[in-house]
Amino acid sequence: MAQFQIRYIALTLAATLLTACGGGTTQPVTADNGGASGGSQALQINGAGATFPNPVYSKWFSEYNKLHPNIRINYQSIGSGGGIQQVTNQTVFFGATDGPMNDEQLKAAPGAILHFPTVLGAVVPVYNIPGLAEDLKFTGQTLADIYLGKIKKWNDPAMAKLNPGVKLPATDITVVHRSDGSGTTYIFVDYLSKVSPEFKSQVGVNTSVKWPEGVGGKGNEGVSGLVTQTPGSIGYVELIYALQNKISFGSVQNAAGEFVKASVDSVTKAAAAEAASMPADFRVSITNAPGAGAYPISSFTWLLLYEDPKDKASGKAMVDFVTWALTDGQKYCADLGYAPLPANVVMLEQAALSRIKVS
């Protein structure tokens, strides 16, 4: 950011105090050490971003490291907003997000950034109602109203109508959302804005929104943590976080009127409709997808890579990694609750990967 170039007085003076002048003058963006260009020396590549795919990414990076011990991909899940920010600043080599970068964000980056979908996931409404045996049903409208603060108690007539015969308590609904910039938020509010015009105008769609109410948790981890610890609460997290932590989650009514629970199958069906008409830059929303059995709050999640990275060695390693992830890596998805990519999307991506300049 040109802004920060101005205060060189403090910078140069303070910089002379740095004992180990390994950095010296401003270096071009390298995620690895200067001399690690050979295959035998360990190459460390840093990335940051979405918490949504963190379980499968951390599995992938660990498995890939086992296959290629000299390549260490260090991924920190700090939220999609953080991923976009850090990759734009080039403080990390690659980013990850579930909310695709908009045109304005793409323009702000110093170079062209490409989106690569990696897996499909689902955002589920989790809740903590002690003693409740059945799964709750939600519609997009009720979820929007809960998050707008219009539905305040669990036994509100709207909820009772959707869940006849279920004993809903008279407790207040404690709304939990994300406190950090989040692609999971993006997916959730993208869906809510499609089904509730009021939500769209009052809150809008972005990785970080102004929530009318509730408590903020940091990352999918934070929201899961808050919901498990707060009786009467509701939150939204990626499917695997609900499964791994055994938190109850409800089914949501899709565009076809069915109440669908998130699963590898229902997410795959949601993607099927869009897959045929995938845009060239892979930025697409598949929430509220049409079709039977489709889960309405599904989404792709993307890796963000520069088309012309400064560090060619890291660029090549990442291209190899993504190729592996799109093929062999997909077999790890189902166990972790993510749906693998449709075949035609994989083919399109492999073609797009060749755009990255690795030499």
Binding site: T26, V29, N33, Q44, N46, S62, E221
Partner: protein, 285 residues
């Protein structure tokens, strides 16, 4: 009227006051006991060889440890000390040797100011000054942030200790024809050295437990790393990451990490204070 007997009302008030003060001590010690009890009882369960020797496992898998974080904290504090010890001690020397000068007052004021700056603000400064120009998160940035926090502590303790050195020593050295430099570094500083080291250890103990300045400087690293230009894991950031997660196994490891942290910090603080007490006793304070 008997003027030598205190009316019972005042006596009772006084007694109540004494009890209240005693109660205050108990009230303060209750959370201390509480915290230590939980850290020890929860942490001990998860301390095993695995914890010290292994790196974190992928999300959701059980096992793994904080080996990289422990090493990271050691490297970061070492780096911080490399930055802070020269600047801190020499500033302290200046403050004690040239006490009355205007510049010394400015330096002292700056040291006290720096001491009070919130650690998150120091993190922001280190991000702007080290991370952005270098282009990525790094151990250097984290060490820089922690070092800045150490400097004022070391400077002020050094200053005060040097002032305690009897003037006779300085006068003797100067009388023998030593230059100022020789007198200070050859005679006075060695005399105060135990105390100075105490100050350094106390400062180390304080910053070893810092989290906020590391959040966007040294960032975090899933792998074992000793490189200065790469992000590095640290016990504090790792405990934070684990604490706000939903995974039971990570919570266990967070308590274990907290136990390790508290042990390091307490041992350093205790050792430093015992040494300081001994020095004070010798000086006859």
């Amino acid at each position: 009227m008997n003027v030598t007997r205190t009316p019972p009302a005042r006596k009772i008030l006084s007694a109540l006051f004494v009890v209240a003060c005693g109660l205050a001590v108990v009230v303060a010690l209750v959370p201390l006991a509480f915290v230590l009890f939980f850290v020890i009882s929860q942490g001990v369960q998860s301390l095993n060889l695995d914890f010290f020797l292994h790196n974190p496992r992928p999300v959701g898998e059980v096992g793994g440890g904080m080996a990289n974080a422990i090493v990271g904290t050691l490297i970061l504090t070492g780096l911080a000390a490399t930055l802070a010890v020269p600047i801190g001690i020499l500033s302290g020397v200046y403050l004690s040797e040239y006490r009355g000068s205007r510049f010394a007052s400015t330096v002292r004021f700056a040291a006290d100011t720096l001491n009070g700056v919130p650690s998150i603000v120091i993190g922001v400064f280190a991000y702007a000054v080290v991370v952005l120009p270098l282009g990525h998160f790094s151990t250097l940035a984290g060490g820089f942030a922690l070092g800045i926090m150490m400097i004022p502590i070391i400077a002020r303790t050094t200053e005060e200790l040097l002032l305690l050195v009897p003037n006779a020593l300085r006068e003797g050295a100067l009388a023998l024809g030593a230059t100022r430099a020789r007198a200070v570094f050859g005679v006075i500083v060695p005399a105060a050295l135990p105390g100075i080291i105490t100050g350094v250890v106390l400062a180390l103990a304080r910053i070893a437990g810092e989290t906020a300045p590391l959040l966007f400087t040294s960032f975090n690293n899933a792998f074992f790393s000793t490189s200065l230009t790469q992000p590095i894991s640290s016990i504090t950031v790792q405990v934070f990451t684990y604490a706000i997660s939903p995974y039971e196994d990570w919570h266990r490891q967070a308590w274990a990490g907290a136990l390790v942290l508290v042990t390091i910090v307490l041992i350093c603080s205790m050792a430093a204070r015992m040494a300081a007490a001994r020095v004070a006793r010798i000086r006859g304070q």
